[in-house]
Symmetry: C2
Subunit: 379 residues, 2 copies
């Protein structure tokens, strides 16, 4: 017997009531029953994204909405500023490149703390940049970026959009779009929304809709203006991922019931306990500004990070994630977003202890879980 | 108490064992357990599509794969021949238009029988057309197109691809790609594959992969070459719709167990019985070459087709579909694809009888189901 614990930075665990909801017999999307579901989901997403504007829903993974945030706003030859400090920052630059947008890359070493002044300088040098593309938290390094401060800077540029990939940010930490001045906020279903992958979201500000009018990059499946038109009638442009949207209604209900402040506090405390747990056994945190969504932990000297990830998964039942790209072997990651509670963190830290003990790392066995328990006593 | 019967041309009913499979706890996609699922699914899809080439899997609705069949093959300014004889033929032309492809439209009146010679003539007049875009069955009119014959014609043009939207065709009628010379065959999860919407498929021939090399339309999320590269390692380019792919493995198993010939015969017989049932009560079939996937039935003189569709749905528990576009009010549709059996057809015909009786149409009540039962006795 081996029980399985999914603590990866997406997909994440799904509450049983959401799984059951999605297992109900299929309903048709062009009828009032489904339209009622969409209506509830629209309200819930506006609440979660902190906006009075529509939050678009796509049948795609998060990257589809990231692509749309380029193709629906810019035109070939436009300039955009991209924060490139991890796998997903690189993705912004790749999308820009694919569509003929010139990306001005702010290349910050992976895991470093982003100083908002870097954005201010890039904008001063490129006041004609049409957008700043960034992450709320960079999943590949477990780093949080100062979204609020960046948005404040971008606000001064009437011709520049503040675009945030919040795929591992929405539902993990506050990102109130309207209050902070985020123009586009992207989300994905398989993270804090506690659903299977297959849905992407995009909150879109008035400023962004204005820019959309003059965008000349071709689009069809991800045509945001048509999507909004349909959404206002509780419909989607093409056949929606019905079962996932049905589950989303339930997930949003659960998040609302807990209260966003409590949800954010929970993720923050769980990530903190994860960090304190592993630090107590002598490990180091990779990020200089760690995220509440996912913790990137450095493999100790002489031990392969992939061996840790694989032993955790195979022998000890805990699915985390390894490092990506040049971080492969150097770090392993454990997430604390979505349907994760204090026992998940204690389980994860215990599994790390078992794993490192197996791999010949020397440390006081039990010190990690003790630190985690101490940290979690008030949650 | 009202039991619900979903007999729309997508989404369709989902077998309970598939629903339960998708309700299992989430698993991570970057690990061997999921890779085994993908490997099985690849084999199953090749079998279903009748090809030794890979069948690509996308997290999107079917339209996403239709878009990809344009953006991954052609370049702006290229010519393409489009059979436009319904809502989905129009979609091909719209996608071409969005990406700067010049569509030469064969405008056949909706529901008419397509003569393959129309394609031959269009190709003679436009031998430089890079593709012929067509449907296996046009869902909006319930019409079957002569895919095999068209493919035979297109085969003579080494620089022209035969692209078939088989979203309501795959798993309903034979479309063996390699044998018939279909270059791209598109499928969707929510039809004969008996899954929720959210997955699209594309079988791609060697000829199409050759053309892909010189395609200049930009793409990122739907980059087929990258998708193939990943698929060969049992992975996907971006986070896949894990729960749907897990369900797909089960659906493919069910289809294989029944045997494709039996699956095709079942759809054919069910559609035939639907037609005979409604003809027996004096109704007319809209299509001049009716499809085994979906039957478009003309509303009798003086009765609104939308009223029939709505009464069927609301009062009699049967979800069909209304007419689209200018056919709204003139027809209503009932599908016989996927997880549909003879009792579904008898139920549907009975519900039509109850509905028409309510709406004041005069006919021998019971004649429809009697005709259907007679037609279905050998299935």
């Amino acid at each position: 017997m081996q029980k399985r614990y999914l603590l990866a930075p997406g997909p994440t665990q799904i509450p049983p009531e959401v799984l059951l909801k999605m297992a109900e017999p299929m309903i048709h999307h062009r009828n009032p029953v489904f339209e009622t579901v969409v209506e509830k989901v629209r309200t819930g997403l506006k609440f979660l994204f902190g906006t009075r504007n529509e939050v678009l829903i796509f049948a795609s993974s998060g990257t589809g909405a990231m692509e749309g945030a380029v193709t629906n706003m810019l035109s070939p030859g436009d300039k955009a500023i991209v924060v490139r400090s991890g796998k997903f920052g690189e993705r912004w630059a790749e999308i820009c490149g694919a569509y003929g947008v010139v990306s001005i890359n702010i290349d910050l070493p992976w895991g470093d703390k982003l100083d908002p002044s870097a954005i201010a300088e890039a904008l001063e040098a490129n006041p004609d940049a049409k957008a700043v593309y960034t992450q709320a938290t960079e999943t590949s390094t477990g780093t949080i970026f100062p979204t609020r401060e960046i948005a404040q800077i971008v606000r001064n540029y009437p011709g520049t959009l503040m675009v945030v990939d919040g795929i591992t940010g929405v539902g993990v930490l506050p990102l109130p779009m309207d209050e902070w001045g985020i123009d586009i906020l992207i989300g994905g279903s398989q993270k804090a929304l506690m659903l299977p992958p297959g849905l992407a979201f995009a909150g879109v500000s008035d400023k962004a809709w204005e820019m959309n009018k003059s965008s000349k990059i071709p689009k069809f499946y991800f045509n945001w203006a048509k999507e909004r038109e349909n959404l206002k009638k509780n419909q989607t442009n093409f056949t929606p991922a019905i079962s996932l949207i049905t589950g989303l209604r339930e997930s949003l209900r659960i998040l609302k019931e807990e209260g966003l402040e409590n949800v954010y506090r929970r993720s923050d405390m769980l990530a903190r306990a994860t960090r304190e747990g592993v630090v107590a056994i002598g490990l180091e945190i990779f990020s200089k500004n760690p995220s509440p969504a996912v913790t990137a932990i450095c493999a100790p000297e002489g031990i392969d990070g992939q061996a840790i990830y694989k032993t955790l998964w195979k022998k000890y039942g805990v699915t985390g994630a390894g490092g990506q790209d040049f971080l492969k072997g150097r770090i392993f990651r454990l997430a604390t977003l979505g349907y994760a509670d204090k026992y998940d963190v204690i389980t994860a830290v215990a599994a790390i202890e078992f794993t490192l003990n197996d791999l010949g790392y020397s440390f006081p066995l039990g010190a990690g879980v003790a630190a985690a328990v101490n940290c979690l006593k008030d949650l």
